[in-house]
């Protein structure tokens, strides 16, 4: 049986005044049906662009410059806009980061939901409304009939995000790409949304790509994690594997730099330096300038190699010990 989604060597580039920014460079990924993948990385590492590339929503000056995206065996890059349009919203849905901005402020919720239903299903407005109402109920919005009549600004951030999720669910898609949907929300609301997403995916068997900058947030949700750095995947594997034994120095650094309550008042482990500009990437391993283990061997860029079963790492000096043993700061 084919995978639901297979990405091979995806290249997405932005042509800017200062040069070509390779926001995604040689990214490969795959995803099974019903699987939850956490896509993690710092700001600017290319997570969102990956998501947009899958949906064919990369806006000029950006474009998908190479690679293949196979969805259910069909190549989306080759298929072009026409093939894409049939899938968008129907089989692949997306939820955006900022709940305040994803809903059109001047259109009522019902308009925005009904048009989504009618874009892919030839149903009456009434039927579409009924479906919209159901979707709102599923994401836990009370009194959906009134809410349908409202405008987005009358909703709180958490509710808007739930409406966006409801819109994503309208056609029971095979894949939902959630691009940091809880970053703008409070922890209590974030937990609410996480729990709802979890329940929904479990019910409908929808595959989910959860994009986030916060490893901790997805660790309890995702089956597998992929860590991005400078447009590449630098480590990929099962959630348990990565959290307990990060192999790439960057992944390790990320995990360690989150305050965990263990070392109160002391200094945290930190990754020195900062994320490089896409326009001026170092040669060889992109993480080498910040990496304590870097040496001459890092000059040619290391490939993404399978180090253990189901575990791919892009590093010539991966850590091989589980985290706990090395955790204390030097």
């Amino acid at each position: 049986m084919t995978k639901l989604l297979e990405i091979h060597d995806l290249q997405t580039q932005f042509h800017t005044r200062d040069g070509i920014a390779k926001a995604v460079d040689g990214l490969s990924l795959s995803l099974d049906r019903g699987e939850i993948l956490g896509l993690v990385g710092e700001s600017g590492s290319g997570k969102s662009v990956t998501g947009f590339s899958i949906l064919g929503l990369v806006d000029p000056p950006g474009r998908v410059a190479g690679g293949r995206i196979l969805f259910d065996g069909e190549d989306l890059v080759a298929g072009g806009e026409k093939a894409m349009k049939k899938l968008r919203g129907k089989r692949i849905a997306m939820i955006f980061q900022d709940p305040m901005m994803t809903l059109n402020p001047v259109l009522r919720i019902d308009t925005q939901m009904v048009e989504t239903v009618q874009a892919h299903a030839d149903v009456s407005r009434k039927a579409a409304l009924a479906r919209a109402r159901d979707a709102l109920v599923r994401v836990g919005i009370s009194s959906p009939d009134e809410r349908l009549q409202a405008y987005p600004h009358q909703f709180s951030g958490g509710m808007r995000q739930r409406v966006a999720i409801a819109i994503a669910l309208l056609h029971e898609p095979d894949l939902i790409i959630a691009d940091e949907p809880t970053t703008a929300l409070d922890v209590t609301i974030q937990a609410q949304i996480l729990s709802e997403m979890q329940a929904l995916c479990a019910q409908s068997g929808t595959a989910l790509i959860w994009i986030t900058h916060d490893l901790a947030v997805v660790s309890g949700l995702a089956d597998r994690l992929a860590v991005m750095y400078a447009g590449r995947i630098i480590e990929e594997g099962t959630t348990a594997g990565i959290i307990s034994k990060p192999m790439h120095p960057y992944t390790k650094g990320l995990i360690e730099s989150v305050p965990q309550g263990k070392e109160h008042g002391t200094l945290l482990r930190q990754i020195k330096g900062m994320t490089p500009s896409l326009l001026k990437l170092p040669e060889g391993c992109k993480f080498a300038p910040r990496c304590p283990r870097a040496d001459a061997a890092c000059k040619p860029e290391p490939p993404l190699e399978e180090r253990e079963t189901g575990r791919r790492v892009r590093c010539v000096h991966p850590h091989t010990e589980p985290l706990a043993e090395e955790a204390a700061p030097t």
Partner: protein, 333 residues
Amino acid sequence: MTDTPVIEIDDVSKRFTRHLDIAERTANRLGAGIKEQTVHAVDGVRLNIRGGEVMGLVGESGCGKSTLGRMVAGLSEPSDGRILYRGQDRSAMSRAEARNAALKVQMVFQDPMSSLNPRLRVRDIVGEAPQVHGIVGRREVAAYVEDILEQVGLDPSTAKRYPHQFSGGQRARVGIARALAVKPDFIVCDESVAALDVSIQAQVLNLFVRLREEFELTYLFISHDLGVVEHISDRIAVMYLGRLVELGAAEDLLKQPNHPYTEALVAEIPTFETEKRIYSAIKGEIPSPLNPPSGCHFHPRCPHAHERCRKEVPVLKEVAPGRLSACHLNDEA
């Protein structure tokens, strides 16, 4: 460390009121019934911050953390109550004293970009105030600025750059340098690391820790991220809709939260899980501060709420030594 707290927040409230204009008042006379709207952004908060300690302040968006922080930093006046700096009321001071007191309490802001004037070079951002206030002479400013930049871990050569030429973490450092340049002894950090990536956030947190020791600073550390607050604070205050609901030593508070809201917050601190976790959440949205629930503001979302919570405002009471909480459940136990 003296006995008088550096900052004493004495039953402070801040209300934002939208007054009716002529047109609305006329409309009311015609029977429109438009009401003045009042937000109790901060509602009767009492809090002492002792010299050298780090006071963490957490709570959800809109609960009044920033408003409180701004009042402490002297950027806005309380509607009620007083804020004392080393036992003195700022409004009762002479001009020069008030200015000095103002300089002693500085603020580090959330958004590293918007808190730096994009049209000024770093050396002006950092050096302007010390020069204007005569902390350093005109000639020594350059050296002084370079010195401070070094303290916060920036290359002195960056002094001639503009804010847009820095990364987020570096900007945060510039903001800290600006505050340090006037030799404060109290710093209000309002979500100072929230906008940063995790790897950078660690760098800045470390800087705060280091500077605290070096300059004997006292912090009011505001954040919505309990994990971060816990890491850096000695004591933590928890706010909900303008009111202080719990206060206690950091570790203690996290280990044994007393107030149901604190409990929920603690439960939601993201942790690295190797297993799938079943998320469960407090139901309901954060209520609007324009129209807060009666009694205990938290009661609509509280799993333990009962009749009394709806009617009566719980007072902040000592529930254990050094531990204050505002919950009716404590009375029943």
